[in-house]
């Protein structure tokens, strides 16, 4: 994935942003700077505002106060250079569409309205499916695939436009461990090639092996640029005991709160 690492601005720059749905405050005074080439994990409890943070970064929603910049500009303008994998629930599983056509959709922002996809677009889509070893499924209907295969197709869709930054919202929620590792390994590879990766997950364990820095979101945001999570920050984020199984050290279990707490 080609990238312009040389540019001086950070990939994401959120300054004192707050957001609420009606009366409900979802994010309070959140600041986050993600450098280009980083691999950030955004973790936190359900309802903590992880997806909201992604939507802010992508300019789908606007902060009620504070500023958001993506790739050095306002997100509505710059998100054309971002790849995005929404939560699986966002797509219509029954929709009659082939794998190739889903991958092509990744070029939607590059083709103006009223225009069709070109032959080059189709080649690009085929190439990325090839790269993700999905070529044999090209003409299959998306509804006939397994959860893991479907998620890889969505990854292909996000990557076909060769984005500088990739956002993933719970990409492995419905996949078995083997499929998860496969996706994480691929993310690691494109990250090493220069793509900034922002990964929303509540799978704290998986995060520790792959990510470089962590942002914990639960209304507020706690940022850990070195990727090290300690008991205190986990407890502060989740507000309840959370066990982390760290990779590397086989089955080392942290107790976020002391045992006496239980």
């Amino acid at each position: 994935m080609p990238n312009n690492i040389s540019s001086s601005h950070p990939a994401i720059e959120i300054l004192n942003a707050s957001f609420s749905y009606g009366d409900e405050l979802v994010l309070t005074d959140v600041s986050l700077t993600v450098n280009e080439g980083d691999f950030v994990g955004i973790i936190g409890p359900n309802g903590g505002g992880k997806t909201t943070l992604l939507r802010l970064a992508l300019g789908v929603i606007k902060p009620s106060s504070g500023t958001v910049r993506l790739l050095g500009g306002p997100p509505e303008k710059t998100r054309i250079r971002a790849g995005y994998i929404p939560q699986e629930t966002s797509s219509n599983k029954w929709f009659p569409i082939s794998v190739l056509d889903v991958a092509l959709m990744g070029l939607l922002s590059r083709r103006p309205m009223f225009r069709r996809y070109s032959g080059t677009d189709k080649q690009k889509a085929s190439r990325i499916l090839d790269e993700l070893k999905l070529s044999h499924l090209k003409n299959r209907s998306i509804g006939d695939l397994s959860g893991g295969q479907r998620q890889k197709v969505l990854l292909a869709r996000a990557l076909v436009s060769e984005p500088s930054i990739l956002f993933l919202d719970e990409p492995t929620a419905s996949i078995d461990t083997l499929g998860q590792d496969e996706i994480y390994e691929y993310l690691l590879r494109i990250n090493k090639a220069g793509t900034t990766v922002v990964l929303v997950t509540h799978n704290v364990g998986a995060v520790s092996t792959y990510i470089r820095s962590v942002a914990c979101v639960n209304r507020e945001l706690f940022y850990h640029p070195d990727g090290v999570l300690d008991e205190k920050s986990i407890a502060a984020t989740f507000g309840c005991p959370v066990d982390i199984i760290a990779h590397g050290h086989p089955h080392r279990v942290y107790h976020a709160h002391g045992e006496h707490h239980a």
Binding site: T51, N92, P96, I97, S98, L108, M113, G143, R157
Partner: protein, 305 residues
């Protein structure tokens, strides 16, 4: 040879020629828009629009306006109301569709009560009267077909993206709200045209059955649209002939032909599956699926995690 004579017999009548034309034109509109209705699960919303249109008919009858203008007005307003509710207050959409559905119908009936001498004519809007389609309606249908074909050709990739993954479409710069409302407006137009042919009670059937059959055998939206249009033509024309020779209500005959074909298609599909159990086929979706639009993402009332 006998069938040949029958065909010729029928074509002797002006009203039969008009009816055949109407059937062909309406099938194109319904094949395309009906496919969008089926893949986006908008059938109950379409039913609501159709029944609300009856209120417009009643109002137009009362004030001696052109009937179709009244129907058009009410179905447009109804589609906007329901569009707003499905987008902004999803949890209320099912109820709202029900209310608009019933109130539109009731309003129409009361207006007709207050209008003397229109009863018979308005009955024909309940069950359709393809045999009484005037030439202006046929021109109107042709114009509608051109509009629909134009919209679908220009906006195909956006409509596919919107129907498959709205959130992604939005991020990619597709004006999802505008397109969603455009789909609703197209539904409203089609409903008004369909009311003439099969009547408002049967509108949903002709909207959904051809597209549902097509969906069993292909997995590409454009192909579903083409097949659905073709099937619609077969259903309306064969229904028309049957109703003519057996002296039956045309709208109901058309729908029964369509319904029988749907049943047949399910059986064929089932047999295909049995014969090739290894081929993972397109699993037929039950007709009784959630009828309301799947939630629109990225609106203020809904929140991800």
């Amino acid at each position: 040879m006998r069938t040949g004579n029958i065909m010729l017999d029928i074509l002797h009548y002006d009203f039969m020629r008009n009816a055949l034309f109407a059937g062909l034109l309406v099938s194109i509109a319904c094949g395309i828009v009906g496919s969008l209705v089926v893949v986006n699960r908008l059938s109950s919303l379409s039913g609501g629009i159709a029944h609300a249109a009856y209120g417009g008919l009643g109002l137009a009858a009362f004030f001696r306006w052109p009937l179709l203008a009244g129907a058009m007005l009410f179905s447009l307003v109804a589609s906007w109301i329901m569009g707003y509710v499905t987008v902004e207050k999803k949890e209320r959409s099912d109820t709202t569709i029900g209310v608009v559905w019933a109130v539109g119908m009731a309003f129409g009936i009361l207006m007709i009560d207050l209008t003397k001498g229109y009863y018979v004519d308005l009955m024909s809007y309940l069950f359709g009267s393809i045999l009484a389609v005037p030439v202006q309606s046929i021109i109107f249908m042709a114009v509608l077909d051109v509009i629909i074909l134009g919209a679908i050709t220009l906006l195909y990739k956006e409509l596919v993206a919107l129907s498959y993954d709205e959130e992604f479409a939005q991020i990619s710069g597709v004006p999802v709200r505008v397109l969603y409302y455009l789909i609703l407006v197209l539904i409203a137009f089609c409903v008004v045209v369909l009311i003439r042919v099969v009547g408002l009670i049967l509108v949903i059937a002709l909207f959904t059955i051809p597209a549902s059959i097509a969906e069993l055998f292909t997995r590409k939206l454009s192909r579903i649209m083409i097949i659905a249009s073709g099937l619609g033509m077969v259903f309306t024309i064969s229904g028309l002939f049957l109703s003519f020779y057996f002296n039956l209500t045309s709208g109901a005959t058309i729908i029964l032909v369509a319904g029988f074909s749907y049943f047949l298609a399910l059986v064929i599909k089932g047999m295909q599956k049995k014969r090739r159990p290894n081929v993972s086929s397109t699993s037929p979706r039950p007709l009784a699926s959630p009828l309301v639009l799947r939630p629109l993402q990225g609106r203020p009332t809904e929140r991800g995690v």
